[in-house]
Structures are given as C-alpha cells and as structure tokens.
C-alpha cells in the first residue's frame, strides 16, 4: 500500500514556527510522501515562506506542494516558490512529478485552482472584462491541470489543488460562497484524465470526504477540517 500524508491551510508565520514539527518528526511511521494543499502562509511573504521551508525541511519522505490564495496575497508567489524549492519542497503549478514508492510509480499533478462555482450555479466567460478575467483564470488553470495529468505515465495518479473540484467537500460552508471555493472545471479534468485520489484545501469549514461525478475520491485536507497535523490515506497500487 502507498501511504499518502496530506495537509492544507497550515497558514504558517513566525508565531506558528515549530507547531507541526513534533508530529512531522514521526512522519515516516505514517506515510511515504507528504502533500501540501496550499495556503502554506498567512500573507504570502518570503519571510513566511522561510518558516514553511524550515517546518517541512529534512523530512524522511518527499514533500510536494501547491500554493493557495494566501500564498499569492503579497504578489510574491515566484519568490515564495523559490524559497520552498531551495529547501527541497517541490512546488507544482501545472506540472506533474513522478515518485518511486515501494517499487511503484506515483504521479502527482498540481495546480492552485480557482473559483467559479459548480455546474448549473457557476460564473460564465461572458460580459465585463473583469468577469471574463475571473473565469478565464479558472479555465486556464484547469487546462494546466489537464496537461500535468496527461504528462504522467504512472501506476497511480493524484491531483493536488488548493481550490475544490467538487461542491460536496464544501458542505459546512455557506452555499452562497461556493463559487469562491472551487470550480467544476477542475472536477471535469480529473474525471477526464482518470485520477486515483484528488486532494484539496481552502474550505476551512467544509468536510473531508467527497467523490467526483466520475467516481474519483476527493478529500478536503484543510487543517481545520482534518483536525490533526496531517491526514493519511492508503492507496492500493
């Protein structure tokens, strides 16, 4: 079995330094890989990125991440990414990474994702430029997830996003804000490409478990949802 550890929305900053470390020190007992589902920082600054890098440094398993909306807040996403990558954390935005785990090839495709809403209750690429820019960002990112997934030739495929690909894992959030929490385009790509597990964060009041219309398991690993340092999932390979 391949053991996946995952957490999102740790929102680290100087005041939270070291909080996750006691649990991470035993990570190898729980998992073969650690996936970070975005919102790693509070304001998206380089200083906070260093706290994240230190927190997840020198772990016994590979660490793969996507950024979240908070990690973009200071318009320093490239610098944040560089700090994390310099410390051995692989940050994905439209790319896939292949890991060798127990003789099996595990592929992780990652994007931040974006809002837009879900089938029948979503924004359209129509009208004012602001609206078209919003939905254009949604579509562009979903297509980046598609190419990342298509680039993977592996035994198992995992989709890692910050925003949600389905509405089900948002239950607990006010339905009025679902269009700011995820979009159906991510779910559609996941179903088109065939994925073994989809992980996301962002919805702090959502719930952990859901499934795409095509039958892929989805887990919301936002830390306030899973209520532990990380969640762990076992996948048959």
């Amino acid at each position: 079995m391949i053991r996946i550890a995952a957490v999102g929305d740790v929102h680290l900053g100087e005041d939270a330094r070291g909080r996750l470390r006691p649990a991470l020190d035993h990570l190898a007992d729980h998992a073969d890989v650690l996936l970070l589902a975005g919102d790693l920082t509070r304001h998206g600054t380089v200083e906070e990125a260093h706290v994240v890098a230190d927190e997840f440094a020198e772990l016994p398993v590979p660490v793969v991440a996507v950024l979240g909306n908070h990690d973009h807040h200071s318009d320093q996403a490239d610098d944040v990414t560089k700090v994390l990558e310099d410390h051995g954390i692989r940050v994905l935005e439209g790319e896939g990474v292949t890991l060798e785990i127990g003789g099996r090839r595990v592929g992780v495709a990652g994007v931040k994702g974006f809002g837009g809403g879900f089938a029948g209750k979503c924004a359209s690429n129509f009208g004012e430029p602001e609206m078209k820019a919003f939905v254009g960002h949604t579509i562009e990112i979903a297509e980046r997830l598609r190419s990342a997934l298509e680039s993977l030739d592996t035994d198992l495929r995992i989709a890692l996003t910050h925003y949600s690909p389905i509405p089900e894992t948002l239950r607990g959030e006010p339905p009025e804000i679902y269009p700011f929490l995820g979009c159906y385009q991510l779910g559609e790509v996941i179903d088109d490409c065939g994925v073994d597990l989809a992980l996301h964060g962002h919805a702090h009041f959502g719930c952990e478990q859901g499934v795409t219309p095509g039958g892929t398991r989805v887990r919301n690993v936002a830390q306030p949802v899973i209520r532990s340092a990380f969640a762990t999932y076992g996948l048959e390979s």
């Binding site: 079995m1 053991r3 929305d9 740790v10 929102h11 680290l12 900053g13 005041d15 939270a16 909080r19 996750l20 006691p22 649990a23 035993h26 729980h30 509070r42 304001h43 908070h70 807040h73 073994d196 597990l197 702090h204 009041f205 398991r217 887990r219 830390q223 306030p224 899973i226 209520r227 532990s228 340092a229 990380f230 969640a231 762990t232 999932y233 076992g234 996948l235 048959e236």
Partner: protein
C-alpha cells in the same frame, strides 16, 4: 445616522478580519446578537485568536466579543483511511 444593521455589521467585521494585515483571516465566522459579537472557527495560534479581538475592538469599541475560535490541533493523526 441609523443604528448599523446586524448584516452590515457582520460584513464590516468579516472584511476587517480578512483585510487587516494583522489578522488576514477568512476562516472565522462572525455572528452578531445585539451588542454581542460571537466568533467561531479555527486559527493557527493563540496569538492569532487574540489578534482577532484587537481588530474588532478598534472597529466596534462598544460590542462585547465572545471569542470561541479554537487553535489548530497539530497532533499526529490517529488513523489511516484505506481507499480501496
């Protein structure tokens, strides 16, 4: 000016908690009951829980804040979910 309605008050508080750099919190629920304001949700540290109150007190000095926000549980998970 009329007394601020509870809906607008909630909107102003939520906006302040999200946009004030001291808090930058989107994951906090705000409920207004007359002059009482209830907060719930989860933040990463005790310090951030206290910062929520500071921002609100500056905005609305007369309300009584009930801060039920909890601090993140960062213990190791007790279980592994097997997906078959």
């Amino acid at each position: 000016m009329n007394e601020e309605s509870p809906q607008y008050r909630v909107a102003h508080v939520r906006r302040a908690l999200a946009e004030d750099p001291r808090t930058a919190e989107m994951g906090v629920r705000v409920n207004v009951r007359g002059e009482h304001l209830h907060l719930s949700g989860e933040v990463a540290t005790e310090q951030r829980r206290d910062e929520l109150e500071q921002v609100i007190v500056e905005l609305l000095p007369d309300v009584e804040v009930h801060n039920d926000v909890r601090v993140a549980d960062t213990r190791e998970p007790a279980r592994l979910e097997e997906l078959r």
